[in-house]
């Protein structure tokens, strides 16, 4: 079953069309990477899912239940972490989670155990200070804790790692990976290495539509090998190869890159063998999401 289904979602800001007929399905127990460049409409889509933004057309279903703008009943299935989560700075993290728990109707004992468990999970268990003194990474972690508090069916994270240093990013990704056991995760990002690291599925948002969607392996396979890297031992060897094969590109003194089909590659290899050209490395360029992304947004 799809936890989230979006059908033909449209949204304009004035004359600017941000979303023009977006379709998206997020299957249960997946970590879904929602990829798009800055300003592509990722946050707009997420706010529409949460009923915080009025769409100009289309339908959104959470667990089969339709989302209405301004109403929050479908949000009981969702945990949301905005890109820059803002909390009541005069509260401590435990007080904040208590407020959230009471708002979603949890009982007192449940709130206490769940809050402590989550604060431990995100590494804020020993933190007694008020939120005012928290760093950005700590706020992000508290954001995840509040999002997971009522055991949501869908955890929506809006660029959770974009503003963090490498250590902070790793922590957040590890937490999201751990959260996979309990929930489905939809997270938007433009950091493709994060997607490759933890996501099981991904979709590319471009020009207001989903340009491509599928599991990470499927997406990778959509693109054939990008080519080969040939590194020669000496500069003259590289010079000879370039002279003979015009479609080789030089990236470093002894390194050549070749884009094209396998036939062409074998003819180069044949030339190498026949002329006994000393080669140091031959490497196939693995297709990456980054190259796919760049191709999609071209």
């Amino acid at each position: 079953m799809d936890v989230l289904a979006i059908r033909n979602l449209k949204k304009n800001f004035g004359s600017k069309k941000v979303l023009c007929g977006l379709d998206l399905s997020v299957p249960e127990h997946s970590i879904f990477g929602f990829i798009g460049k800055n300003g592509a409409g990722k946050t707009t889509t997420m706010k529409a899912i949460l009923g915080l933004l009025k769409s100009d057309g289309g339908k959104i279903y959470i667990m089969g239940e339709k989302v209405h703008f301004g109403k929050t009943s479908t949000n009981r299935h969702i945990g949301y972490l905005p890109d820059v989560p803002e909390f009541y700075s005069y509260m401590t993290s435990l007080e904040y989670l208590t407020l959230c728990g009471e708002v979603c109707g949890m009982d007192k004992a449940g709130i206490m155990t769940r809050s402590k468990e989550l604060l431990e999970l995100v590494g804020l268990g020993q933190e007694g200070r008020r939120i005012k003194g928290f760093s950005r990474g700590m706020k992000q972690r508290l954001g995840i804790a509040q999002a997971l508090l009522n055991r949501p069916k869908l955890l929506i994270c809006d660029e959770p790692t974009s503003a963090l240093d490498p250590a902070g990013r790793k922590e957040i990704l590890d937490i999201l990976l751990a959260a996979k056991e309990q929930t489905t995760v939809l997270f938007s990002t433009h950091i493709l290495s994060d997607v490759e690291r933890i996501c099981t599925e991904a979709a590319f948002l471009h020009d207001g539509k989903i340009a491509m969607q599928g599991s990470i392996t499927e997406l990778r396979n959509k693109q054939s090998s990008d080519g080969f890297i040939i590194e020669t031992e000496q500069k003259w060897a590289a010079d000879t190869l370039i002279k003979t094969f015009g479609d080789l590109q030089r990236t470093e003194q002894n390194t050549l890159v070749f884009h094209g089909g396998e036939d062409r590659f074998f003819s180069i290899m044949q030339y190498v063998v026949e002329n006994r050209i000393p080669i140091q490395i031959i490497e196939r360029i693995e297709p990456t999401l980054e190259s796919l992304f760049l191709e999609v947004i071209k």
Binding site: G70, C100, E102, V103, Q146
Partner: protein, 256 residues
Amino acid sequence: MKPLLAFMKKEYLEAARTGKLLILILLFVLFGIMNPAVAKLTPWMMEMLSDTIAESGLIVTNIQVDAMSSWTQFFKNIPMALIAFVLIFSDLFTKEYKSGTLLLVLTKGLSRYEVVFAKTLLLLSLWTFCYGICFAITYGYNAYFWDNGIVNNLFSSAAIWWLFGIWVICLIVLFSSLLQNNTGVSLCTGGTVLLAYLLSLIPKVKVYSPTILMDANSLLIGAESVDAYIKAVIIAAISGVICIAGSVPVMNKKQL
């Protein structure tokens, strides 16, 4: 009901921890003490100034002060306290829009009408509490120094002025749900009061304007009876309820 109570608890905690509650209490206590103090000190001040006044040709005779002077002072000072109240709480909603703190609690399932109700109840209760303190302090001192018995319709006048404060709070709530920044909220609230005041200058409209609720002095000296205020009281109550009820759909349609 539970989310509403939880959010109200948060509102009181916020008022306490951000120091707003302390400032308000100090302010209203100060005003409460000032009313009898100013009345008590008036003869002494006049005496000090009598020479200067005499030079300008006026002769200061024996000045009598009593509870009436102190209560007149109370109703002169309380508008300032209300203005301070409005300024302190003009950002009650707008601060949350700007910082985005509402986003998370709304996505947790808090309804938007509960946000409006919780904040309205906070304002109403704090106004009632602070106004009550101010009134009680002035009443206590007046009873100690003079006799509150000489004042007509004291409790009715106080209640009528309290209602005026409630009406202003309902305006704050309405403008807070309509507008994005606190300057706009203070200006529009002030502007509406001014408009109501200007309308009250038209003799036929006067009895309907909530601003006549501020004119407690005529009640105190017995020049007017409570009946003269009934229409304005009804208008203030109805328009107040409309403001709050109107804030809910406005809030529901607000893009956050």
